[in-house]
Structures are given as structure tokens and as C-alpha cells.
Symmetry: C2
Subunit: 368 residues, 2 copies
């Protein structure tokens, strides 16, 4: 069967009330669907994307040579089987791939919001998605799944819309951003903010797409460190060195340096700097316990079946963080959860790369 | 007894032949001594400093309120007991605290070398020190000790001057820089190089000292991540937040962000950007096996008693790296070494901070 990939954008004119007390009005949400919605709408799976991901989770656009970010996972016969499920993935608000973000025009003007864009939280992101699902007349889903910031969204759904999803599957995520992750985001934010070509937020996005933005490239390089692990880097790069005139050339390059440069500078051509600042902010302020007396009180609200998957060598969101969440569930006698620490030394990006190591757990969660 | 702190600079007019084939001529080495040299010169301990350290390892200069970087370790009755030992710590070539580096005048001109400064290696650094000791008429020492890049120097001494030190103590170091550490250095280098105020190396150092250099600040922030650990950051900073108008202010700050900003920006006022680039390059190209068929062949040369100390949660130079060196020693049936993995979750900086956790091993090494 075909993937039945469809891309849509919905426009909303009612205000979106944000956690900060501010509003977003009007706003768009761009989303993709795969598979076919069944008659009683009981086969919906929501997929949530990570920091720089998008609604394009699977399939390949015409003329494009790169498939969606979880293509190995979503499709006919795959772990998220589109023969069976109707899959929806939407671009989060604050991002830059169609949903309203800091570079969207600020109504009624045609100028982008830039810094006038309100701070959005993970909770705001899922609230917007919930409103999208209402529009689609979907009021309950079979499962919500995501990794990294996608996992944060899945968990936030579990707490704030406890009757919305039968199953929640969160991978490579945490219950609250820890200073270690905030520190990596800080390096990226500071590096962007201090780049004169960022023009204190008043950059021309077309110029940046063409010329790159070294501050964002440097920040992304730091990010890439946190996405891998010591061991993966050794296996991938070793001490391989490329040079024109020997090791003693000041700017000869180790392979790991070329990798970081390539990924850092390419990134600035496809991602928006202000979106990066707003989304990393959303990650930093993410804390499931906010609005509750404690994390314990927060997890008491959960009624979906939870599957928590961490990766042993995740450097960004340490497995201990997911374990802490599991312990909270244990402490409130929630017996409707599974916690798996995947034996992986790939690092944080394992949720995108080592599908074979955890797809069995996702299949079990969906079918079990 | 007093520390007997003395600071000197020696000037050398003979060329220093560098590993790259280039020469440095003339050059200065600034160093400090503590304690008193005994009559037969048998009580010398050489201390080697890390990336941004200096010859000022102990004691306090008049009018200064900060003591040397290993003050808790060097002094009367301390682990490196200046009642007993004569301690020498010299600023490495390539640095910026008195020894010749990229901002030193290039003879016979008065203009600084800047990029014309040759790439120096860890081996070059210890060669220069060896020449200094010759000048001081010291031809054998009791021990050489250092952490991080200081540990690299100590190990390089063990291999290249096998008859020079009775004992070698290396902490929080490695046998060769791994891509993980090189990646952190890359972020710092790239961030400095792309800062327009760096002026492609033609900056005015006085202006930088006064105004700071945001590119170097960002790079140093990345460095600080690698100096700590996930756990230490949590204990130090948690999710504490300083804000003027609530969590939703885009630029409100988590405590870890303030910490990174403070240390990043302060750093640019006391360290030279080109020195940072040259010294991180020296760290990146450090590899004890260079010039040998293998690391095994290299370690066969060692005849000093070796003490290798790693820290369990060192994120920068993982304990596994030191363990690999110990395994090499084992493989060549060297029975004259001790390897200790210190039970610490502080991170890389444990060698500067958690003295109480390892001073017993250093004392044992020195006295045993």
C-alpha cells in the first residue's frame, strides 16, 4: 500500500492562549498525514518532532532526494504501520516550516514578529496541536509518540490531556530540561545572538539562507556534540586527519572537525535563527511539574499507558532523567507503564538512527 | 615554612627545533618555583599546567586575592610538600603569560607573530621545559605531575625523556586526543575565528581585554560544559532561574546560563585568543604514539614509575582513555605503574577541585 503522504496547512483565527498569558492570533499549523483514517477514527497516531525536525516525518517529496526524518519508522509494514494507522505529524508553533513562528507576519502587519513573537512552551505546542485535531474532528487518538523534544510533547500530552491518547511513547526525553542540556542550548543561543549578521534579530532570512550564519553554525556544532557520544565519535571519525601540508598546519582538519563544519554551516541554510532561539527556550523551560506542587502530583494525572524509552549513552537527556520519571510513576502506584533503557552507545540521536534497537518496544507498545 | 614563591623569566637565543620542522628563536620561558632546591638537586618536582593555566600554580601575589591554580596541593605540609620538595612550574610556549607565544614579538621585528607563530606540540612544550631545566643545571627530577594538558606533558616526558624523571603522575589526561575533545576545541576555535572583532588574528589585545571577545566567550562556554558533568551541573545549578518578568521572558536566565556567561566573558579579559587557538591545536594533535609504529612501541620506552589517575565522570578525557594506556603498559609487562580511577562525579575539573579525593594517591606515588 502507498504511504498516502499528504501535506496541509490549517489557518486558525481564534486566539491561542499561551502559557505566558500572551496570545497568538491568528496562526497556522502545517501538518502531514500518512495512511488512511478509518471510519470510527480509532486508528490515529500522532508523531511529534524534535527541535529542528518538521511535520515531514516520512516519505519523499517529488524532486527531493531526502526522506522524512523518521522514514524508517513510518510506512507500510513498518513499526508505525500506515496500512493500519492514520499518522499525523504537525510542525510545532515557533518553528519555521509552515506553522506560525517568529518569522511569520505579525497580523495585521506584513512584517515578521521577530522578537515580538511570544515565548512558546512545549505545553503551548501541544495545545495548538490539540486545536488542530479538533478541527479535524479527532477527539481521541490511539497513540502519541516522539523522541527528544517530540518525547517532551508526548509526555506533556499525557499530563495535560489525560483522556486524549490511549498510549504515550516518549523516547530520548526527560521530565524537565536539566542544566546540562540548557548549557548546550545556551552556547547556541549566545553564539547566534552575538553574530553581527544576526543583526539583533533584524536579519534578512534570504541573505542568511544564501550566506549562512557562522554564529548559528558554531551553536549547531555544539549541538552535534550533544547528539552523539564519545564512543560513536571515535568509531565514526577516529583521529583521521585531512591536511594539505601536514599535521602542523594550523588549519588542517580532523575528520570530526570537517563533520561539524559541514553540518553546522549547512544547517544555517535550512533553519531559521530566531526559530532556533524560541524552540531552545521552549525546551529549557519545559518542566512537567510546572503548575503542580511537584512532579509526583503531575504524574498522578496520567491515565494513558506510558512507554518510556531512554538510550544508555544519551549525553543530552541522560537515561537517569527518564528513570526518575519511571520512579515517580512507581511512587504513585501507576502500573500502566513500561520503562526501557536501550542498550545503545550511539548517543542522543539513537532515536533517529538505531531504529532496529528499539522498534520492537514501540511495536509492543502499539500492539500490546 | 614559607612557600618561597619566586617568579623568573629565562631568555634563550639558540633555536628551539620544533616537531613541525620549524624553529622558534629566540624564546622566553617564564616559570615559578616553590620551596628550596637541596644540595644534590634531588628534590625537584615539575608541575605542568593545563590549557589555560600558567606557571602560577601556588601562592598569592601581593595585592592579588586569588591564589595559584593548585594552591591546595602545593605548599608546606601539602601533597606536594614544599618543605621537602623544590617545585618548578613553567608557562608553556604558545601560551600568553610570559613564555613566548603567538602575541610575542617576532624577532627581529617588534610586531607580534600572530599566525606566523609556528604550530607547537605537547612534545615541543616539554622540550622547551627540558632546555629550561638544563639552564638551571637540573638534569634529573624526582617527579613530574600534571592534570589535563599538564598530564599530557607529564606522559610525553615519560616517553621522550625516559631517564629524566623518577616518577610521572598524570591526572585527567589521555594517550591521544579523541574526536570528542577535538570537537569541543573545534567549537571554541571556530567561534573565535568567525568573530569579526578577532579581525582574522589582527586584533588589538588591549581592546579585547577591555571589551571582551564574544566569540571566545561562546567557545569558552562550550569548554565549561566539558569541564563539568551532568550531575555536578544539577547539584550546582538545578533549574534555578533569575528573571525580571517571569519564566516567559525570552532572555530570563537559568543559573547555569549566568554561570556560563560570567565565566565565558570574564575569560576573554585574561586569556589571549590566538594562544587559545594554538594551545587547543597542540592538544588536538597530541598523540603519544606519533613517531612510533604504535602506542605499544611508544610505551616500551617508559622507565619512570607511572601513576595514572582518571576521574570516573570526566566528560572531556574519558576514564576509558587512561585505562587504555594502563592496558598498553600491561601488554608490555610494565609492572612499575599504578592506575587509579577516582570515584568522582564532578567531571574533568575534579583534578582542580576534588583534591581530597586523590591527594592520597599522589602522596603515595611521591613517597612510596
Amino acid at each position: 500500500m502507498s504511504l498516502n503522504l499528504q501535506t496541509h496547512t490549517e489557518h486558525f483565527t481564534n486566539p491561542l492562549y499561551l502559557e505566558s498569558g500572551r496570545i497568538l492570533e491568528p496562526y497556522d499549523i502545517t501538518y502531514e498525514t500518512y495512511g488512511t483514517l478509518n471510519e470510527d477514527k480509532s486508528n490515529v497516531i500522532v508523531v511529534c518532532h524534535a527541535l529542528t525536525g518538521s511535520h515531514h516525518a516520512a516519505g519523499t517529496y517529488e524532486g527531493d532526494n531526502k526522506a522524512g526524518w523518521w522514514n524508517g519508522f513510518i510506512g507500510s509494514g513498518k513499526a508505525i504501520d500506515t496500512d493500519k494507522y492514520f499518522v499525523i505529524c504537525s510542525n510545532v508553533i515557533g518553528s519555521c516550516f509552515g506553522s506560525t513562528g517568529p518569522m511569520s507576519p505579525q497580523h495585521p502587519h506584513h512584517e515578521p514578529y521577530r522578537y515580538k513573537f511570544p515565548v512558546v512552551s512545549i505545553k503551548d505546542m501541544i495545545k495548538a496541536q490539540r486545536i488542530l485535531f479538533d478541527r479535524l474532528d479527532i477527539h481521541r487518538v490511539e497513540a502519541i509518540i516522539g523522541g527528544s523534544m517530540g518525547g517532551m510533547q508526548a509526555l506533556q500530552f499525557a499530563i495535560h490531556y489525560p483522556n486524549f491518547a490511549n498510549k504515550i511513547i516518549a523516547l530520548a526525553a526527560t521530565h524537565a530540561a536539566q542544566p546540562w542540556a540548557i548549557a548546550f542550548n545556551k552556547v547556541a543561543q549566545e553564539s547566534i545572538l552575538k553574530d553581527p549578521d544576526f543583526k539583533q534579530g533584524y536579519y534578512d532570512p534570504e541573505v542568511i539562507k544564501e550566506q549562512g550564519l557562522s554564529g548559528m553554525a558554531v551553536g549547531r556544532m555544539a549541538g552535534h556534540i550533544s547528539f552523539l557520544s564519545h564512543k560513536t565519535m571515535r568509531e565514526k571519525f577516529g583521529r583521521d586527519y585531512k591536511s594539505t601540508d601536514g599535521l602542523y598546519e594550523l588549519f588542517g582538519k580532523f575528520q570530526v572537525e570537517s563533520y561539524l563544519e559541514y553540518n553546522g554551516y549547512t544547517f544555517t541554510k535550512w533553519f531559521d535563527p530566531l526559530a532556533y532561539i524560541y524552540i531552545t527556550k521552549a525546551i529549557n523551560i519545559y518542566d512537567l511539574s510546572r503548575g503542580f506542587d511537584s512532579l509526583t502530583e503531575a504524574v498522578k494525572r496520567i491515565s494513558s499507558k506510558l512507554t518510556l524509552i531512554s538510550f544508555r549513552d544519551d549525553v543530552l537527556f541522560k537515561n537517569i532523567e527518564m528513570k526518575e520519571l519511571a520512579q515517580e510513576l512507581e511512587s504513585v502506584r501507576n502500573s500502566n507503564y513500561t520503562y526501557i533503557d536501550v542498550d545503545s552507545d550511539y548517543g542522543h540521536d539513537a532515536f533517529l538512527v538505531e531504529l532496529d534497537k528499539f522498534e520492537i518496544y514501540v511495536k509492543d507498545a502499539l500492539n500490546g
